[in-house]
């Protein structure tokens, strides 16, 4: 079952100006449910642009994008926001936690935005997610009171709060030391295997990419390589 399909997706900046620049040149990509995929490429290859388009934070200039079988080109701003909230989770290089809220409240935030008012079920879901990323003892700490690795784990738990079909992670361990990076990656992998959530992870780190099921390489806005990773044996 497809979680994501991109068909001939193009993205240009500065259209109609002498500085017009096409950064994505007709991307075709399908991610099946439960895939754990690494997206690699040098700086300026269009990885973040592609991730923003897939995450419905930006629109392509051409091509079609389907999330869980639904074409997104027809959706208006409000529809895109709803779909983003419901179907996609984000983990960024920087955690972007809300400093005024506790770890538990940060995880609750996407559900609160969708439902409008807090309830016990919401709290229980957030507490379970924090437990899965090993942060139960810190659930009532403010986001500013925990370490960088812990903050990124809270961000992962927040990305999973709405039980999204697809999680997009942009250099999720880029700001962390090797030990913390491995820990964060372990958490992502464990969630992927237990809940069949599809992950697309942008990374520069070949060591981490080697832990993914599939590795896609993007160079100058084109997919130059898309291969399964023979080194990975799935446990799920």
């Amino acid at each position: 079952m497809e979680t994501l399909r991109l068909s001939e997706v193009r993205k240009s900046y500065g259209i109609g100006t002498p500085l017009e620049l096409e950064v994505l040149h007709g991307i075709d990509l399908v991610l099946e449910r439960g895939e754990f995929t690494a997206l690699m490429g040098p700086s300026g290859s269009g990885k973040t642009t592609l991730l923003n388009i897939i995450g419905l934070l930006d629109r392509p200039n051409a091509g079609r994008l389907f999330i869980e079988g639904r074409e997104t080109g027809e959706l208006d701003e409000a529809g895109l926001t709803r779909m983003r909230g419901r179907s996609i989770g984000f983990v960024f290089q920087y955690h972007y936690l809300l400093p005024a809220f506790t770890a538990l409240e940060n995880v609750m935030m996407p559900i609160l935005a969708a439902r409008g008012r807090p309830d016990d079920e919401m709290r229980a879901t957030a507490a379970t997610l924090l437990d899965r990323v090993g942060l139960t003892p810190w659930r009532d700490n403010k986001a500013t009171e925990i370490s960088g690795g812990q903050q990124q784990r809270v961000a992962i738990a927040r990305a999973l709060a709405m039980k999204p079909a697809l999680v997009l992670a942009d250099e999720p361990s880029g700001n962390l030391d090797t030990q913390s990076a491995d820990g964060v990656f372990d958490v992502l992998r464990e969630i992927n295997e237990t809940s069949q959530t599809t992950f697309l992870i942008v990374t520069h780190d070949p060591r981490l990419a080697q832990r993914c099921d599939r590795i896609i390489e993007l160079v100058d806005g084109r997919i130059v390589s898309d291969r399964p990773n023979p080194n990975v044996v799935r446990r799920g």
Binding site: D58, T81, R84, A100, P110, G116
Partner: protein, 408 residues
């Protein structure tokens, strides 16, 4: 509504708590501004009410008078011309023609509370060697007191004036060395005289009125001023004194009588009052603008400071409307809390003012009613101003592109 309520409220209040110093400063600013507006409004309305009350103590809101007598020039015969200089006629004291009918008609008007006929004219009070010129006012006590609260102004004696009684003011009593029970001779220019007994002494708080006005029974005044069965004026009391001129115009339209409202006869006072209201309004506008700009500037800074948070809220599914409302709530809440503080401040100052601003005899200089409605209006208005002031930064926050916001 349920869907709206909590997310925006929770985020808005956490954002405010996060920037606590900013929030407190703007709340104090709104409080001071709001306090000034509420205090000034209460003071001014108290002052105005006091002046209006004092003026209407001894003056009816509307007075109906007979039409002026006019000199009629000779009518020229056909083909002939007359060279004439027409001099205005001197006005003598006259009765209103069919005053009973007019009184009844006016009494039936919807905004009229009470109507009373009077006979008023010049006269002299004589006692021993002393004589004083006065305005004799003949009244029907039962209707007159409903228009002019003379009965409440009696400081000695009684007010149920009979055919042989007279009520005089404190100043006149002092000038004549008279007291309750003393007899006076009241004389008019026509030569009519009457000997009357002082049954009451009034104090309107106005030296001129206390010195000049005397009150007798209507029938006594009719005899003294040679207006038997007549009424030289009809005094009218209306529900809202500030509508007196409109009602006077309605009465005037249906008759040839002179109808004077207190608004026209006290034009100078109203000009001063209008100037005062204008000044107060200008101060209110400028204070309000300062408060609004304060709130707006704090929120503009807040939007810039929190652009990353706004970006992530948008990325995880918060709509533009939700982000907009987060900042509108902040504007409204800061203004509301500030206005509560301002109302408390104004209330404290008003209580202090009431204790301090007193006449030498210890009576209040003027009565300030501390109306809860004024505070409620101030809080409502401040909240609306706060929300409006927040509109621009809120729209800016809602329009932030999440990708750009997170990158900033």
């Amino acid at each position: 509504m349920n869907r709206f309520a909590f997310f925006e409220l929770i985020v808005a209040f956490r954002f405010m708590r996060e920037g606590l110093m900013q929030t407190l400063l703007i709340i104090v600013g709104v409080g001071l501004g709001g306090g000034v507006i509420v205090f000034m409004s209460a003071l001014l309305s108290g002052l105005q009410a006091n002046v209006v009350r004092r003026t209407l103590n001894y003056q009816a809101p509307i007075v109906i008078l007979p039409p002026d007598q006019v000199a009629r020039p000779l009518r020229a015969a056909e083909g002939a011309e007359i060279a004439a200089q027409v001099q205005p006629r001197s006005q003598r004291l006259r009765s209103i023609d069919q005053w009973q009918k007019i009184r009844d008609q006016v009494e039936r008007m919807p905004d009229v509370i009470a109507v009373t006929p009077i006979v008023a004219g010049p006269g002299f009070v004589l006692r021993g060697d002393a004589s004083k010129s006065v305005t004799i006012t003949g009244i029907e006590p039962e209707t007159y007191f409903r228009v002019i609260a003379l009965d409440e102004k009696i400081i000695a004696g009684r007010f149920d004036v009979g055919p042989l009684d007279i009520i005089i003011g404190t100043e006149l009593a002092k000038d004549l060395g008279a007291n309750i029970g003393d007899k006076f001779r009241l004389a008019t220019a026509s030569g009519a005289t009457a000997t009357l007994t002082a049954i009451g002494i009034f104090d309107f708080g106005n030296k001129g009125v206390n010195e000049r006005n005397v009150y007798v029974a209507l029938r006594s005044a009719q005899n003294l001023l040679d207006l038997v069965g007549g009424a030289s004026a009809i005094d009218v009391k209306v529900r809202d004194p500030f509508t007196a001129e409109t009602i006077a115009q309605t009465i005037r339209a249906g008759t040839d009588l002179q109808v004077e409202s207190w608004i026209v006869t006290n034009a100078q006072f109203f000009t001063a009052m209008r100037a005062q209201i204008l000044t107060n309004t200008l101060i209110r506008i400028f204070v309000g603008l300062t408060v609004a700009l304060g709130i707006a500037s704090v929120l503009v800074v807040s939007v810039i400071q929190k652009s990353k948070e706004i970006g992530i809220l948008r990325a995880m599914g918060a709509s533009r409307g939700q982000v907009l409302r987060v900042f509108l709530i902040q504007g409204g809440a800061m203004a509301l809390v500030g206005s509560v503080l301002g109302s408390l401040l104004a209330w404290t100052f008003l209580v202090i003012w009431r204790g301090v601003a007193r006449n030498p005899d210890g009576t209040p200089m003027f009565i300030i009613q501390i109306e809860p409605s004024l505070f409620a209006i101030a809080m409502f208005a401040a909240t609306v101003v706060g929300i409006l002031a927040a509109a621009t930064p809120a729209r800016r926050a809602a329009r932030l592109d999440p990708v750009v916001a997170m990158r900033s």
